[in-house]
């Protein structure tokens, strides 16, 4: 092939497509190999390897806001001392990495595998001691089944219900912030949220709500989730506002329609 011919071939419309295809195959294939490699790496919770892997993930995904040594910056707070529980909550519920700044960082599809989340948590926990991820003793299924739901309900109403609603349906705060709905949230994430106080939620440390208290609260929430309202449709569980709106619009509207029909002449 002469140089002239090669140049012509480069200009052919198919050349661009071929180059893009080749690029996709190489990067995609490379990623597949790489993620295979991650999947097959066995890691224990505290090994130096895990911490190193976590640091790599951190530098690639988190450091732009939180600083390359997790010291914090204009865009994100310092993560020194927030502990593994905080990382597991923020990353495990998809809140981190944050997509955009706003009144509140939103829950979204989780961006990392469980293993990667654990590596990130191990890295952040290695920086300075902080709250750790709760053990199965408090958030496992057996633990929740043994929890005292009625005590949990009382504690929930005293400590949590003003923001999260009496059945955990969530509620509004100021300036676009809100307390999220708790239905379907994993037990360990609820536990972690109480320990770390993410975003505008206050902290409920172990001398305020003991681990037993926290377990009871989660048992209560799981009980409410599993036992639908005996009163029928809950209308979001939001209480008098939603119920009143329904009555005003549909029931009163129905009465108005009937009244108009009663007064109308037959044709």
């Amino acid at each position: 092939m002469t140089k002239q011919k090669l140049n012509n071939a480069r200009r052919s419309p198919f050349a661009a497509i071929l180059v893009i295809l080749a690029g996709l195959l190489i990067s995609g294939g490379g990623y597949a190999v790489a993620s295979d490699a991650i999947d097959t790496t066995s890691v224990s919770a505290t090994s130096q390897e895990t911490v190193d892997a976590g640091k790599k993930l951190f530098l690639a995904n988190c450091a732009s806001c939180h600083g390359s040594n997790a010291e914090g910056g204009n865009m994100g707070p310092s993560l020194i001392g927030v502990g593994a529980a905080s990382v597991d909550f923020q990353v495990g519920t998809g809140r981190m990495p944050a997509q955009a700044s706003g009144p509140q960082v939103m829950k979204k599809p989780v961006q990392f595998t469980e293993e990667q989340t654990a590596q990130l948590a191990a890295y952040v926990a290695s920086l300075s001691p902080g709250p750790s991820i709760p053990s199965e003793e408090w958030v496992g299924e057996a633990a929740l089944a043994s929890g005292d739901t009625s005590k949990g309900g009382e504690l929930f109403r005293i400590n949590c219900a003003m923001c999260h609603n009496a059945v955990g349906a969530g509620g509004a705060l100021t300036d676009g912030k809100f307390a999220p709905r708790l239905e379907g949230v994993e037990a360990k994430h609820i536990y972690e949220a109480m320990v770390i106080g993410p975003q505008n939620m206050p902290v409920f440390n172990d001398s305020n709500l003991t681990p037993e208290d926290k377990r009871d609260i989660i048992s209560y929430l799981k009980y409410v989730e599993a036992n639908p309202s005996a009163g029928g449709e809950e209308l979001g569980g939001l209480g008098p506002v939603a119920e009143g709106l329904f009555v005003w619009i549909f029931v009163l509207g129905g009465i108005v329609v009937i009244t108009i029909w009663l007064g109308a002449k037959s044709n």
Binding site: T174, N205, A230, W261
Partner: protein
Amino acid sequence: MSDKSKSLAKAEDAEHDYSAGLAVIAPDAVKDPGMEPHRVRMTDKSEAHEKRAARQVAALFLFSIVSSAFALYAYFAFPIVEGSNASVRDNTLLLGLGAAFGMLAIGIGAVHWAKTLMPDAEVSEARHQTRGSEETRARAIEIIDLANKESGFSRRKLIRRSLYGALAFFPLPGILVFADLGPNPGDSLKHTMWKKGTRLTRDPDGKPIKASDVTIGSVFHVIPEGLAELEHHKLEEKAKAAVLLVRVDPSILKESEERKDWSYDGIVAYSKICTHVGCPVALYEQQTHHLLCPCHQSTFDLTDACKVIFGPASRPLPQLPIAVDAEGYLVAQDDFNEPVGPSFWERSVNE
């Protein structure tokens, strides 16, 4: 309109002669537009429509029968099972729906019947004069006189006066029960259970709180020591004494000179009772340090003596002065220095 109804509408007789009394009659008053022209219904014009309307009415009545029968069926088919709330819901809901539609369909059928098939001539009937005829009035007086004579109401003084007495006394018990609206609260609205040295304890179990337990960003829902063990008026006392305990970075607290020693190393305690209408203000935003009342969105700035920054509340939340005792537990220095909660008439008296 038929001739008959026309004549009824225009009927005027001597009885309908109204006095204008004190009313000012406008000379250019709106004229009575009279009856609007009568529209002939389809069911009067076409036999097919009439038959269809008759079938609709019958169908509604049949639907009523089906609904009532369904209510009977539902009572047995969805029995109330001991311990199952869902069974109570299903039973009452379906029974109620059946009975409701059974009744509603009769009503709709009757209205539909009347509107489509019964005669629709418009008739106006003038009101009767309220004053009876002279003859009727004379007869009424005659009857009253006779009753007076026969009962002896005027003649028998003893009976008449004792009856007056009885009538005067019988409403008294009804008036007396209004005493239960009292007694006046006195100064109980101005004092709570907090005293010098009362420990701050956790709601609901009454466990005392150490200053070291309250980490930065923590919120404790607090009741005074001894409240959990009260046997009488527990809720009344709690409604006055409930406190929210928060620890923030001491450097962000803006404290006035006289309140400098009311907090302890960034730990502040404020009444949880909103100064607007008394809802519990307990929505604490850890990053903005705003306290939000869930009822009417009054917002208080915790770092600035809980002054109102939004909403209908007019006063800051009262602050509870706190200190630490020899064992490290948080205690109150004194009661609140102002009445907690919403305004009341005598609030400013003797302050």
